[in-house]
Amino acid sequence: MGLLDRISTRKIEPESAAVVTAAVDDPVFSTKALRKFLACLRSNESAALIDLGAVVGSNVTFFGEQLGCKIFVQDILADLDRLIREGRPEAMPALLRTRFSEESSSIDGILCWDVFDYLDRPSARALADELTRVLRPEGALLGFFGTAQPRERGYTKYIVVDETTLRHRSYAAARGRQSALANRDIIQLFSTLRVSDSFLLQNNLREILFRKPVWEGQK
């Protein structure tokens, strides 16, 4: 190792240490549904995936390497934040109805994370309709839904550690979680999908994996 190499290594050490410290501080939780979601997509050689959360580089790498898929990053919460800061959150449903340019039945998997917890009912309805439209038959949709009354104001980045573990990283939000959706409300939102798996975790998060049924005419 040359002198310059040693100097440059020493320079980046504090940054690396900060990153490691931040990663250690983030709580880690188990996930039951992610593995099943991945299993749904593995059979497809060139799957297309929509990620509705904030862009997380390691997640893009994870899904790209695990599935070799095409990932569309659609940070819905960034749009929501912008509209709230502009004082016109009522524009969110209309925005969501035009947000997805993907063709109908063209997407194999959708990662909603907990986006629905932050939307009002009209926005949630609009988003669910659009996601249901773009999801192909037999496609999978994974959503997290809080079951306790919301307290915190921040958003959460779900960082995939592995198929059974997620790191939760909070970041600032213009508006906190809305009231928790009841099971029947969630089912009604995705009334054309079927519930494949549902897990209630100790951290008051319900993970639900939906599949889009194949109708007779689509076989």
């Binding site: 709580p27 862009v55 580089g57 599935l67 095409k70 573990t165």
Partner: protein, 179 residues
């Protein structure tokens, strides 16, 4: 005298306090080749430069200025510096983004969006790295090479903090909750 001045002058782009390790400052004249080599292999487009049109090259390129159109460095590395503003279709071996890119980026090796880097467009590359704090809006296509098997599922790791509520951890079916 001329030789003595050259001996203490740092190579172009090198910090003054960090001479190359093999160089013995003040005792012998440096070889001119390394500095010349660097200039030859990495071209820099400065902050004040604006280019509209097609940019082709066969050497590594760093852009700090504005480029609109198409950039093709098929076998080389394109770096968009912190001041770089690109509105273009980009094709390169590797692309490092520290500035702003609007347009699709295709790399045969890797796309690396660094902290404060921004990409609005679709990325096609076998390897993609997006740093925390980077902005990205678009799609990422990390196509598997033909014939390459899909990555094996990772070995499940024991979660550090939390387990599912109902039932034993070894029995996922029992943890399902009816809805």
């Amino acid at each position: 005298m001329w030789k003595r001045d050259e001996a203490v002058r740092p190579a172009s782009g090198q910090p003054t306090g960090a001479p190359p390790p093999s160089q013995s400052v003040g005792t012998s004249a440096p070889r001119p080749e390394p500095a010349h080599h660097m200039e030859k292999d990495n071209v820099n487009i400065g902050k004040s430069v604006v280019i509209k049109g097609e940019l082709n090259g066969s050497e590594d390129l760093t852009i700090e200025g504005h480029v609109e159109g198409t950039i093709q460095l098929r076998d080389h590395v394109l770096t968009i510096g912190p001041n770089g503003r690109i509105k273009a279709q980009v094709f390169a071996k590797a692309v490092i983004v520290q500035g702003e890119v609007t347009g699709n980026v295709t790399a045969s090796d890797k796309v690396d969006i660094r902290d404060n880097g921004s990409v609005d467009g679709d990325i096609v590359s076998p390897r993609v790295a997006i740093a925390e704090g980077a902005h990205f809006r678009g799609s990422v296509d990390m196509q598997r090479k033909a014939g390459a098997p899909p990555a094996q599922p990772q070995k499940p790791a024991a979660p550090a903090a939390q387990t599912a509520a109902a039932g034993a951890p070894q029995a996922p079916a029992a943890q399902r909750v009816g809805v």
